[in-house]
Amino acid sequence: MSLAQTLWNENADLAAAALEHPFVLGIGDGSLPREAFAAYIAQDAFFLDGFARAYALALAHSPDRESRDSFAELLTGVREELRLHDRYAARWGIDLERVQPTQTTSAYLDFLLDRASLAGVGLTCAAMTPCMRLYAHLGHSLAGRTAEPYTEWVQTYADPAFRQLVATLEQLLDQHATDVHDTQTTYRRAMELELAFFDEALADPRSNMTTTRPPD
């Protein structure tokens, strides 16, 4: 079994907790308050900006041509996702220029960019893979049984093109991870931060928001 698959299996408890998280359940049946979703989207846009920066660092630090091409593909993918967020933000009345990161978002970004800046391509992949794999898992699990207004969000992550990006990143993880213990620790930490991100989205939506209005 590949290292990426082993890591995913080792974190099945956190993946299950994410799928049963009230935020995700609320996405699934459409009952999630719109304010909570808007607050989440605002923070996620901030997070994705950092995610794209981490991919840029991984591209800079790629040791061979194949990795370079793969990180270029992933950077292209995340930039497409950022454009999607811009459209979401416009529709949900969020001014991304005015969004400030919450403590949870900052903690996740600090962790991610610390690995991407200092720890080499292997641990950079270990820090980035959980987000991608988890969202593909959530998209796959919720697809076809979601209610409006969140079906479009689910479809983004259920898309085969997104799964392909996950596979690309997991291959890079398998190829570059050297220290298994550090890789496991980094991977699990990222999974925990993903759950914290959902927790916070439900905690106090209004504290995370700048300006919102109901979607059209």
Binding site: R53, L57, A60, A72, L75, T76
Partner: protein, 186 residues
């Protein structure tokens, strides 16, 4: 920029470029330069991707598109090398190493001087190859590739991120460019 006119001229109208335009380079000269330029493009990708990682939002699109274009450029170098039966697995010459050292210095600069350095080197590249156009075979393919309207538009976009009043940065890049052409003729 006017005070640096002579330095710009030397960097963009070098005898190496004259040799390309006239088709008078000694056999192997262009090929040896190409192999060094391939190494440089790899070093530039390192610099530019790291610059992208710390860029303000307004600068991200052009820097990302530029970094991805460098990835494509490296693949294009590989194709050309295959066609010319050229070995790209060479060691950096001193001028190429010195240029990498300059890129490392720029990497440690704040964003604006660093992006001014990036604009300078791309502007030199565009102007230099425009000077070499039109070139005879087998150089025509290369010169056309490095003088496309798309590349010119990219350099114009980079200009918006640059401030030529960082004269020391501009001068350092121009000197590195001249040294790089000189190495090709050595």
């Amino acid at each position: 920029m006017c005070s640096q006119g002579e330095a710009w001229r030397r960097a963009t109208r070098h005898p190496f470029l004259e040799g390309v335009r006239r088709g008078t380079l000694r056999k192997g000269t262009f090929e040896a330069w190409l192999a060094q330029d391939n190494l440089f493009v790899g070093d530039l990708l390192w610099f530019q991707a790291r610059l992208l990682a710390r860029a303000p939002r307004y600068a991200q699109r052009v820097l990302a598109e530029g970094a991805l274009a460098l990835v494509d450029e490296l693949a294009w170098f590989d194709e050309q090398a295959t066609q010319l039966a050229l070995d790209l697995e060479v060691e950096r010459l001193p001028a190429t190493r010195a240029y990498l050292t300059l890129l490392e210095r720029l990497d440690a600069e704040p964003f604006e001087p660093a992006s001014t350095g990036l604009w300078t080197l791309e502007r030199v590249y565009l102007e230099a190859w425009s000077f070499a156009a039109p070139a005879p075979p087998p150089y025509d393919v290369f010169v056309e590739h490095w003088t496309t309207p798309k590349f010119r538009a990219y350099v114009d976009e980079l200009a918006a991120l640059a401030d030529p009043s960082h004269v020391n940065i501009v001068a350092a890049v121009l000197a590195a460019e001249v040294a790089f052409w000189e190495a090709a003729l050595a």
